[in-house]
């Protein structure tokens, strides 16, 4: 049986669909007690990885385990791991309550649990409505309710914010964080860092089926670079003064400003004062997480900018 650790371990996981390599030698672990974001652009292999973890797709190589066991050795998987997957199915003619009762029976929990999770996700009043009439957001909530039926230790969600309104996203954020605080494991995938930035503590960033970054979000934040853009009265004097103070990365921009990295604007202003240089304008620029994420994951399926149209004939109309 499984060890009850709540640990997700992915090791050298590889999946090939014919000649297409969807996931290549991917490794990371997810520990209980916090929310882990699983990030990457569309087509990076996120869904395939999660489906291998859940025993729905057979890996070509490597292993993916929950509580030290592959999915099919969990015994009663519904009580260990709950999952919300993209394009998860519902029978359109079945009511939300009946849908949940079917799977409550399969997992072996009392029927009352169906109404409880419906209330939890805010679908209590829609319990007897047929799922065919549900909006995308309601279906996402019902999928989450299904995942929560067995009160699982591990929660895996693939793009759960799809179709949710801002209120729903805010609710989901709070819900997942409090779920993790109870000592459970939450793994949530997204193609937008901004979408999960406020939710997750840890991140796994993948691109082209490979791990690009894996660690605390805080660590990723520290990697981001700040620079101070300053317009001094005497560029050379300020540069010399900063250099003398040990500031190494000083760059002159095309518009005549200096870009200073590694120090804050207060430091630059003080140096300017001491050097007797006037400052006409100063501003701090942050390379945000989104851009960092973009740098980590760019390249796959990149489109051309209109000006770089490869089909344009050289000198054709000139």
């Amino acid at each position: 049986m499984h060890d009850g650790s709540g640990l997700i371990a992915v090791q050298n996981l590889t999946k090939k669909f014919g000649s297409v390599t969807a996931v290549q030698n991917l490794s990371f672990t997810v520990s209980p007690g916090n929310v882990t974001g699983f990030l990457g652009p569309n087509g990076a292999g996120k869904t395939t990885t999660l489906r291998m973890l859940l025993g729905l797709v057979k890996p070509t190589g490597g292993t993916a385990t929950i509580n030290g066991r592959p999915f099919h050795q969990l015994g009663q998987p519904g009580r260990v791991v709950g999952a919300v997957l993209e394009a998860q199915g519902f029978h359109p003619a079945r009511s939300a309550r009946n849908h949940l009762r079917v799977y409550a029976a399969a997992i072996g929990v009392p029927d009352a649990q169906a109404d409880q999770v419906l209330g939890l996700v805010g679908l209590g009043t829609a319990a007897d409505r047929k799922v065919g009439g549900f909006s995308l957001g309601m279906k996402q909530r019902l999928a989450l309710a299904t995942a929560l039926l067995g009160d699982p230790q591990v929660l895996v969600l693939d793009e759960p914010a799809n179709g949710l309104d801002p209120e729903g996203i805010a609710w989901l954020r709070t819900f997942l964080q409090s779920y993790a605080r109870m000592g459970r494991t939450v793994l949530i995938s997204s193609h937008l860092l901004a979408e999960v930035e406020q939710t997750v503590d840890q991140v796994v960033i993948i691109s082209r089926g490979q791990t690009m970054f894996y660690g605390p979000l805080e660590q990723l934040r520290q990697q981001q670079q700040r620079r101070v853009l300053v317009q001094p009265s005497d560029v050379n004097a300020l540069a010399t003064a900063l250099h003398a103070e040990g500031v190494q990365t000083i760059e002159q921009l095309a518009d005549g400003r200096l870009a200073v990295s590694g120090v804050d604007s207060k430091h630059v202003a003080d140096s300017a004062l001491r050097a007797g240089v006037s400052i006409y304008g100063i501003q701090e620029e942050q390379v945000d997480l989104e851009r960092l994420f973009f740098q980590l994951t760019s390249g796959q399926y990149a489109g051309y900018a209109p000006a770089q149209n490869p089909y344009q004939q050289q000198g054709g109309w000139a």
């Binding site: 669909f17 869904t47 395939t48 489906r51 859940l54 025993g55 729905l56 797709v57 057979k58 099919h72 969990l74 015994g75 009663q76 998987p77 519904g78 791991v81 999952a83 997957l85 394009a87 998860q88 199915g89 519902f90 029978h91 359109p92 003619a93 079945r94 009511s95 009946n98 849908h99 009762r101 079917v102 799977y103 029976a105 399969a106 997992i107 072996g108 299904t146 067995g150």
Partner: protein
């Protein structure tokens, strides 16, 4: 396993498919039953009033005691059990089509557990369909037949057994094909084409090639043989002495062309159902659910 069986049972009772298919099933069974009685009466009237009396003398009983309804009942069962087969065919292909198979596999200890639970539930549904078919065929036949042409109590019991068995086996066969070809439309079209057209053509070819015994080993031939042989056996038990040539003709009329005993036919068809289920299981076991 009990949990999964209950889950599968709830899946079938929380949508309308079971009664949506049961209605045409019983309408067909009732209609065929009524027609059987009328046709039987017409046939016996014709036989009693013509030169065919010689045949009746030959068989040792008067035509008004021929239990001709037996053949119609057998045929009614054969045709009506197409519906439980379609019901079974939707079991797995329908779940793959609607993507509910994902949650089914996420909440079951293994895919094999999920499929076995499904099979058990559909065996139960096959029995329910079988009882409904027998009931409505019986009502139809009783309404339009003379009492002399109807089976006795033992005969009814035997036919009911054959009907329920046949319905269960057809449902199981459907479940297997639905798992093998995970596409609802493809599965149903293939099953209907095969059972209504392809194999019937094959039967003519086999008779033409003078190897009619092969018919009893084909899927449709064996399942028809199950009910058909029961009907022929019941007919012969009251019809007196019948020469072998006439017996072959009677078997052909009843749909038991292969001339196997009813239980042999049932076993042969069970074999076919087992083969397609094993194939469907193998396909489902290794399938990537994306």
């Amino acid at each position: 396993m009990g949990n999964l069986v209950q889950a599968e049972l709830r899946k079938t009772t929380t949508t309308g498919l079971w009664w949506g298919l049961l209605i045409p099933t019983v309408v067909l069974a009732l209609g065929w039953g009524l027609a059987t009685g009328l046709f039987g009466k017409f046939f016996v009237d014709f036989a009693s009033s013509s030169d065919l009396e010689e045949v009746s003398d030959f068989l040792g009983v008067t035509p008004d005691h021929w239990k001709v309804t037996l053949f119609g009942i057998a045929r009614a069962i054969n045709i009506s059990t197409i519906f439980p087969m379609v019901f079974g065919a939707m079991a797995i292909s329908g779940e793959i089509n609607r993507r509910t198979i994902t949650t089914t596999f996420l909440t079951a200890p293994s895919r094999m557990h999920a499929m076995l639970a499904k099979m058990l539930v559909y065996v139960l549904w096959g029995a329910i369909y079988g009882l409904a078919i027998m009931l409505f065929v019986g009502i139809g036949v009783v309404l339009t037949s003379n009492s002399g042409q109807l089976p006795d109590a033992g005969g009814w019991a035997m036919l009911a057994l054959a009907c329920v068995l046949s319905s269960i086996l057809m449902t199981m066969f459907g479940v297997g094909v639905g798992a093998l070809i995970p596409n609802v439309a493809g599965t149903i079209v293939l099953l209907l084409l095969y059972f209504l057209v392809i194999e019937n053509v094959l039967h003519f070819v086999l008779v033409y090639l003078e190897v009619p015994t092969v018919i009893g080993f084909l899927p449709n031939g064996s399942i028809n043989g199950l009910t058909g042989s029961v009907a022929v056996d019941l007919f012969l038990s009251t019809a007196g002495v019948v020469p072998p040539e006439v017996e072959d003709v009677l078997r052909a009329i009843a749909g038991a062309g292969g001339a196997l005993d009813w239980w042999w036919s049932g076993l042969v068809f069970l074999g076919w159902a087992g083969i397609v289920f094993a194939g469907g299981w193998a396909v489902t076991q290794s399938k990537d659910i994306t």
